[in-house]
Symmetry: C2
Subunit: 559 residues, 2 copies
């Protein structure tokens, strides 16, 4: 017996997917003509260039773009009723997936319309090198609208760096008569977009679209956030909120929850603002205040003990994925161990981990030796695993949440042996990358697609689509990629890169947390944000940290 | 700067929580008078008693209830316009939390109205023994309506078994002038409710409410499912769906996902029906078909290899929490090891785990020795940890998902060394117990509260509130607890218990999976159910397995 609903599921969609595809996405007024049809816009450049501290070397590296004036912020001023037609644009996804990618494609298709061709690149940058293109149809767009994931195109992490690769891209573009390439990706992918824009100038325009759940690709007033961040943090915040609600219900567990987000702590900060747990660690603060591991652990133990005295034998600790690389004494220890391992590579090669531990304990200076010995054995051993090709350890492999649980437990035993401390650990990551986009991300990405498409039809290159003033209709912008690029040392040599935006300890969002976290740890004052809603009165919320940092007057976005 | 929204959050609620509290909960027509006000109902008993195979011993054990005729199914026939008034009822939560508990309280309060008193018991059965009562107000109900968790009352796992405990409950009830006690819990708690009903007869009526996310408390046509199951499976299904969407997006990982649910595989089955992963293991099938661990692992390896040949280097495997206890050869091995450990307790006591491994490998007979040696070392060591007071191992501690990953990887190396097999493991559990209730659970629990309250005002005892025909307005029922109780051997002696409902391999839901799983593993045909919606066109879905097993004509519930 198959019900009607199940029959439809057999064709491959959940009830939610079928309904969400019909959901109208809000569009900035500027993109709508009198009949409410979508039309592209034209852009006006600001007076003076947008630069980083490295204006000079950047101008030299991106000579063509800069000389053509492509280094100034663009503002959309009016509808473009006579766009260049007959364009052939291709879009690709680069790096880890983020919710809303499919709506970028939908926005591009909508604004390019039937008189231009939109191609999809299968499998990311690698697919571009291999020339894996296909034509995107209106039917495709109907199917993917408002759905999560990058699976429509697929993605990968290939970096286009070598001269051969650049040449290969040029060939592929020529062979497929491409006028434009849209690269949807994070900081590295947009750096790549800039390099390609310069290399392919003037034949092929290259436009970037800011994607990453980590939220570390931002440009202040010009770009409040990258897409995917809102959906990922709403997914993690629901789970953290559910667990917070569980703690006073079952009254016995501390949950240590590590959240994806690479180096930056934007995700941890946003989830904390949405849920108000007992403890939130922010990597950037740990680094700025040079807080040693010992102190982090001692503070945790003190909070557990204080709460237990009030009868609160439970709590939640939020830990950003990148924390370990921001703890000063631990990073010093890692450097020392990296050198040690490099210097004694030969003799260590065939030693068991146990033997390596004895060796390290012997070789290390007093303070570092003490820190090393204070770590759980399984962590000591992880720190002595063979290094990668750059001589570094895969720090992301270290289970920070378990490390902190074990060290906090040990510290509690010293300070107050009778304090109960039953724990669970979690790592939320993959769950948040491919969920159906929140209404915010669905709208944000569709409009970014409209902007990227408009930039193509306005014959711009080397730009990143951007949208600000999200609380009052949206301000349609394009940021010159050269205006984001700095010179950074990576693996010992200078590279042109877009700097990762980390959490600023003087930002309104961080200060909001800092002013309240003591109260949040002293009692259970958590909130449970619930599952993100696509319909109804709770559907329009945007990230709290974005609203705070941009100084918006409301938590609800409006486009 | 605090926005208006943040100011409200400061008072302790998310936007979602504030809005969801205003959401109207659907109520069975029978509970509404002409003015649409909530009124209680009266019940009529069926002709003959509802019995299990153990009718005789049960009738003896529950003499008073049975003689009073409290062993027959009750059906609500009409509104109760002259209920007994001035009642004092108390409600408690028992065991692990489940979404909707707060709405049971809200339903009770609504139907008992102002002319009766509803007390809350703080901290579950233990709180009952300590007489921790407080009066529940209309204001409380406004605050908790449609919110997740058990934190309004709290819960615990104390079992009321000893004569002293029963006597203590009797005293506490007398002291607080209670006429009725509502116990919200799972199979064990409802067994307890029956024992209390018999012991406290006739002074105090005892009513049970069927709760558990595991879905193992069911009664066929009379009770399609327990509350909390729908919300938990919707939460897990969204996460599994997100990860499924991630796999063809990033194209490199196999995710092994263990799902909470104790012994029964209802949760795993429901989540599989909602998402259609490559592999779903069902414990009850493994036991019924006596599938050895070797075969489970080999099948997994074959599927990974087959998919890789098609370019699918990714997939999702769903694993029920209780699987290990259903794998025949593994459970035999555990029994043997339990005996071995018991027999040699003294000599093993001070042996290292490594030494214990050598000892076990030596002592075991050929086949079991081979199985033991085929397990990863860390699992071998876990199997040799000291036993609990009953001489058993805490099997739930064994990381089944990692065990299967490691053994599958080893098998793939034997069969096809070049097949890529990058993996991630997950355990979803606590995230699902305290989420905001789905619309289904919110309505189901509010109506269960109305039924429990009506049973009190209709002077019934020893009953469990039940609701069926969920697709066509709901059928209001009460199941005699004696009709669910069997005699089972537990720790060597006969006990009266409500039998756990396991997945039946001849049930429509299981057959639906069995008929399709080959197709689901052969290609990516997953669906992503998305976050549960409280508003809009996707808000009324009920569990697929319930709709199938009950033979409903739609996936949408209607009350």
């Amino acid at each position: 017996m198959l019900t009607a609903d199940l029959k439809k599921m057999e064709q491959g969609s959940s009830i939610f997917e079928r309904e969400v595809r019909k959901l109208a996405v809000p569009v900035c007024k500027l993109f709508l003509d009198e009949q409410g049809q979508i039309v592209p816009v034209t852009f006006n450049p600001e007076g003076k260039p947008l630069n980083t501290k490295d204006a000079k070397p950047v101008a030299a590296e991106f000579r063509h773009i800069v000389q053509a004036g492509g280094n100034r912020l663009l503002t959309a001023k009016r509808k473009n009723l006579s766009p260049t037609l007959g364009q052939r644009a291709a879009v690709l996804f680069s790096g880890g997936p983020a919710a809303g990618g499919h709506n970028v494609v939908a926005g591009l298709k909508a604004v390019l319309g039937r008189q231009n061709v939109l191609l999809g690149v299968r499998g990311g940058p690698k697919g571009l090198l291999n020339g894996e293109f296909f034509t995107i149809t209106d039917k495709d767009v109907k199917r993917i609208l408002n759905t999560g994931g990058f699976d429509f195109l697929g993605s990968d992490r290939t970096k286009i760096k070598t001269t051969e690769q650049f040449l290969q891209v040029k060939k592929v573009c020529a062979k497929n008569k491409l006028n434009a390439l849209v690269i949807v990706g994070g900081d590295d992918s947009n750096t790549n977009a800039a390099l390609l824009a310069e290399y392919l100038y003037p034949e092929v325009q290259v436009i970037g679209v800011p994607k990453t759940i980590d939220g570390d690709l931002q440009a202040g007033k010009f770009l409040p956030i990258s897409f995917g961040f809102d959906t990922a943090t709403k997914i993690y915040a629901e789970l953290v909120g559910n667990i917070l609600q569980d703690t006073p219900s079952s009254r016995k567990y501390w949950h240590f929850i590590k959240l994806m987000g690479r180096a930056a702590s934007h995700v941890a900060l946003e989830v904390a603002l949405q849920t108000r747990p007992a403890v939130t660690l922010i990597s950037e603060e740990v680094a700025a205040r040079k807080i040693p591991l010992r102190k982090i652990v001692d503070d945790l133990a003190q909070i557990v003990i204080k709460r237990a005295k009030k009868g609160l034998k439970h709590g939640v600790v939020i830990i950003p994925e990148g924390l370990i690389e921001f703890i000063p004494d631990l990073t010093d220890l890692l450097k020392t161990l990296n050198d040690l391992m490099a210097r004694h590579a030969a003799s260590l090669k065939n030693l068991s981990l146990a033997k390596r531990r004895e060796f390290a304990a012997k070789e290390l200076q007093s303070e570092q030796a003490a820190l090393f010995k204070s770590l759980p054995e399984y962590i000591q051993e992880m720190l002595l695993l063979d290094r990668d090709s750059h001589g570094n350890l895969q720090v992301s492999q270290i289970p920070t949440e378990k490390l902190l649980i074990d060290m906090t437990a040990a510290r509690i035993k010293q300070l107050s042996p009778d304090t109960p401390f039953a724990t669970n650990s979690h790592f939320f990551g993959y769950e948040g990358r491919c969920g159906a986009p929140s209404l915010f991300d669905a709208a944000f990405t569709f409009n970014l697609g409209l902007i990227a498409g408009s930039l193509i039809l306005d014959k711009r290159t080397g730009y990143m689509a951007a949208l600000s003033d999200l609380h009052k209709g949206g301000r349609v912008l394009a940021i010159p990629l050269t205006g984001l690029i700095n010179v950074e040392k990576r693996h010992g040599k200078d590279e042109m890169v877009i700097e990762k935006a980390l959490v600023k300890t003087n930002s309104p969002a961080f200060k909001f947390l800092a002013a309240r976290r003591r109260a949040w740890s002293a009692a259970d004052v958590f909130t449970s944000p619930g599952p993100r809603q696509l319909w109804g009165p709770a559907a329009n919320q945007m990230p709290i940290s974005v609203a705070l940092n941009q100084g918006y007057a409301s938590l609800n976005f409006k486009l």
